[in-house]
Symmetry: C2
Subunit: 210 residues, 2 copies
């Protein structure tokens, strides 16, 4: 193996470790996660975790940082300047939904993180959310200026959208298991895109449109 291949192999190992760690942390939370379990799922010896990444806390922070960092960027990328405010809002909402659909480990980790007051929440993550909210704020402002939206608190809108999406994602297993709930609720798809994302979009738009 030449140097490049070697580095690649090593990068691959680190990635496997982080992916496994993300999974286990998502399932069990920080204290509930077992380092041995992470090593097992990554298919590496436990010593490799400490060799490549560091201790349990380092592992966790790395996971949180890498997962949440991506989200904001993706949303910003797709919004084109010439779109109408309503179209921009749709893109914001759909990209956000897609991000959650694509990263199933994100909602549980975020939720637990928030539940513990976000003490270990990397600054990058907080900034990511702040950027999304300020992006949304710009969209709503533009809508107000153009006379298509009524003035509303952007933070509140994001809270409703994000809250609904995250809670929806995360209640999927409970809904499936629960017996005494209506069949139509039980059968709701676990994905946001193509199912409830559209309904949320319609409801929120009806609420903010003039």
């Amino acid at each position: 193996m030449d140097e490049a291949t070697l580095r690649e192999k090593s990068v691959d190992t680190v990635e496997r470790i982080l992916r496994a760690a993300a999974e286990v942390f998502a399932e069990a939370g920080f204290t509930g996660a077992r380092v041995d379990e992470i090593a097992r799922r990554a298919g590496v010896n436990k010593a490799m975790l400490y060799y490549h990444v560091g201790d349990k806390r380092d592992l966790y922070e790395e996971v949180v940082r890498s997962i949440i960092g991506k989200s904001a960027e993706r949303i910003e990328e797709e919004i084109r300047q010439e779109d109408s405010p309503e179209e921009k809002f749709r893109i914001y909402l759909r990209r956000f939904a897609a991000t959650l659909d694509e990263n199933p480990v994100m909602p549980p980790i975020m939720m637990r993180e928030l539940a513990s007051g976000g003490q270990t929440l990397p600054r990058a993550a907080v900034e990511g959310v702040a950027r999304v909210v300020s992006l949304l704020s710009g969209i709503l402002d533009e809508g107000v200026r153009k006379g298509v939206f009524r003035p509303v608190n952007p933070f509140l809108v994001h809270m409703m959208v994000a809250g609904a999406f995250i809670v929806y994602k995360v209640t999927a297993p409970v809904r499936e298991r629960a017996e005494n709930i209506p069949e139509e609720v039980r059968r709701m798809a676990p994905e946001l895109a193509g199912s409830i994302a559209g309904d949320v979009e319609a409801m929120v738009l009806r609420a903010i449109r003039i």
Copy 2:
């Protein structure tokens, strides 16, 4: 001490234990919570937890049950038969907000509970939520029949309301600490009632009203 005083003293001890347990579970989650810490905060010997309540799991289930159980009842109680659908909806929303304001340990516990797929969620808790949703479902149905609401998925509505409230509650410490976010977001009150509850109410009603 006569019998009444003793029973009261014992009840008091159990209450102190449960209150301390709720606190610690809210801060650290089930696996993160330390039984010794709960005992310390309750000001009792650790063995007393086992003597009065049971093991860690029993402690936890008792906490979750007592907290979530109340919520559904309270909402049901306050909705009078003669109210209009819109008024009923307002009561549902305000009572829910008030419950979260009054029980600050509830949002973090619920979030962590959901984050772990509700594996340890006592049946009573799931039933509580189901009851709230079916209550809301009845309100919305009635509204549709009377021609004041358009048909919407009640589960979705609850998800948006509950999601927004819970996430709002739980992001309070992060909002306070974050530096690069707008001042008006940072200064938003931690309470729901009297602050964002009214805005959420207005937005959702605008979305579902004919």
